[in-house]
Symmetry: C2
Subunit: 149 residues, 2 copies
């Protein structure tokens, strides 16, 4: 699948909190994303632990940003969702007894590691603020096109 749907959703929420609503409840965010409030809380808790957002209970509660999006990288988001495996193939950590796999892993492990290092570096170099700007431009372009017709 996708750009990992959790990652994509988190980006939506962060951009939205930054540009449009300042603070929102899990319920509101869930409606926006077309999902469930518990799903939102679950995915946001990773961001909270990293100090990117804060949540408050009770009346007037909800989620808000606690850090400038220029200081949040895609790598942060990736870590917030629990650093899921980047690759579909690769060493089977729980099957070390298979000698064929051991032989393959020995040859491939280094390459996979290099590829992962490359990707993490790229993640780190992209801030959510960059993406928000990019998004806004696309959105303007889209509206301009839509309104013209």
């Amino acid at each position: 699948m996708p750009l990992d749907s959790r990652m994509s959703r988190m980006l939506h929420v962060l951009i939205h909190l930054d540009r449009h609503i300042e603070q929102a409840t899990s319920e509101q965010i869930a409606n926006m994303l077309g999902t469930n409030a518990v799903v939102v809380r679950r995915m946001m808790s990773g961001l909270r632990e990293m100090g990117i957002v804060a949540s408050e209970k009770g009346h007037g509660g909800g989620w808000r940003l606690t850090r400038d999006l220029a200081d949040v990288s895609l790598l942060d988001i990736y870590m917030a969702i629990g650093e899921p495996r980047l690759f579909n193939i690769g060493p089977h950590t729980d099957n070390p007894e298979c000698l064929v796999e051991q032989a393959v892993d020995a040859r491939l492990g280094q390459s996979l590691h290099e590829a992962e290092t490359l990707l993490r570096a790229r993640f780190a170099s992209i801030t959510v603020a960059d993406l928000a700007t990019d998004f806004e431009q696309r959105f303007s372009a889209y509206r301009a096109k839509y309104e013209k017709s």
Copy 2:
């Protein structure tokens, strides 16, 4: 998951056909792998289409190698299983209407492409013969250790 279990199974079969039995029926291979003959036929058909193995029907039929394992690369095996996605993240080809994803993809696409190119090159550089040799060494080492105790 794993090194993709299909890939791992195929390697087992190829090494086995090369070193131990020359020819085997789907049923025999299935027993060896602890699976079902239909599953074996399904996965071997990819190799057959690439000219790496041939199958014969009727009495005395079964599967045999038609190419030297020194001429079969891991990339061939990867292609034989249908080139499953290498990455868990990445452009969602069927969701191009999402502007946030478009923004992320625009920034990440090149990096993912580079990482994929790197991995395919490594796959291409590893032959199944290399792996078979490596496997044999591990197997000897394992037996030596096991028989000593």
